[in-house]
Subunit: 170 residues, 2 copies
Amino acid sequence: MSCEESGECTRSITDPITLVGLIFESAQALRRKIVPTIEKETGVTGQAFEVLIRLSRSPGGLLRMSDLAAQTGLTRSGLTRTLDRLVEAKLCLRASCEGDRRGTFAMLTDEGRERITAAISRHEADIERILGGSLTKAEQDQLVALLTKVRNCVHPEATMMSTAPLAHSN
Amino acid sequence: MSCEESGECTRSITDPITLVGLIFESAQALRRKIVPTIEKETGVTGQAFEVLIRLSRSPGGLLRMSDLAAQTGLTRSGLTRTLDRLVEAKLCLRASCEGDRRGTFAMLTDEGRERITAAISRHEADIERILGGSLTKAEQDQLVALLTKVRNCVHPEATMMSTAPLAHSN
DNA sequence: GTAAATTAGTTGTTGATACAACTATACACC
DNA sequence: GGTGTATAGTTGTATCAACAACTAATTTAC
């Protein structure tokens, strides 16, 4: 039995594979617990839900395809297909982009915004229920702080909203 | 710009979605950075690599299909296919299970063990290089401790090696 | 102002995973 | 000891995402 369980060797783990393995495992297991619920509620994929969240947090509820892809971690082609499904479901629409006719905006519809708002509340409750028992608030905050460092290191694009070429957003 | 970047509101984040989102993002971005290297080196999928790691950590280098599935987070059908590929690549083989003719063991071949051992070293160096700059050793340990709690909560099966019906392993 | 290079997004194709249905073995109970 | 239920693993099917090739529009360089 490794020292992870005993909890008494937090000082000399020095095994980076354990760390990465834990991140992968936690993500995968959480995904399995949370995503099916989301999919039932919203009728869209977990990845699509991520897209909706990003859009809902963006001013105007729209974002360039490339920026959205960078933020969600989807490839551009993956995003094209995901958005196809969201448009099909009437939760998003494509808007062409004045001034750069290569560009396309992905944009929340009113229905999309309603759906995502409702889903987010239930989603939050779900997570609380799942994680609340095993992590105190303080630990959650600590974890957020540490993971933010990791995320900023491995995926800085996720926070680049400010520098996104969306200055002309309207 | 959210408070995650400023680093000054670690006390009242209270947003569980942020936490889960960070876990997902970190995992996905890490996967993108690390897995392609592994795949080039070993010739197998990231998931398959995970299977090999689990086997290499198991006494005798073998494990029942169901236990392996539980540990890796694959479905049993997913594991069947993954193991097909590993057998095809001569890194694993199937061994039948005395005493329970329903059961099958997945087992590392010698070549599989060599391949995984070599890959693990390079894998570790990779991770060090990627994460070393952004997290101190102490922070890494802290993160491991916190994520272990999360993992044990959402995926306790991953640590059930002791209770696995492998007492008769030989 | 026109050709070359870059950027934005979509489409063809392939590989991988999940879910559900299926077969075979083991166990429980009468 | 025979029937019913549970368990182990595989196979059929559909979906989703990645990679690469492609089209269209913009920028750069001359």
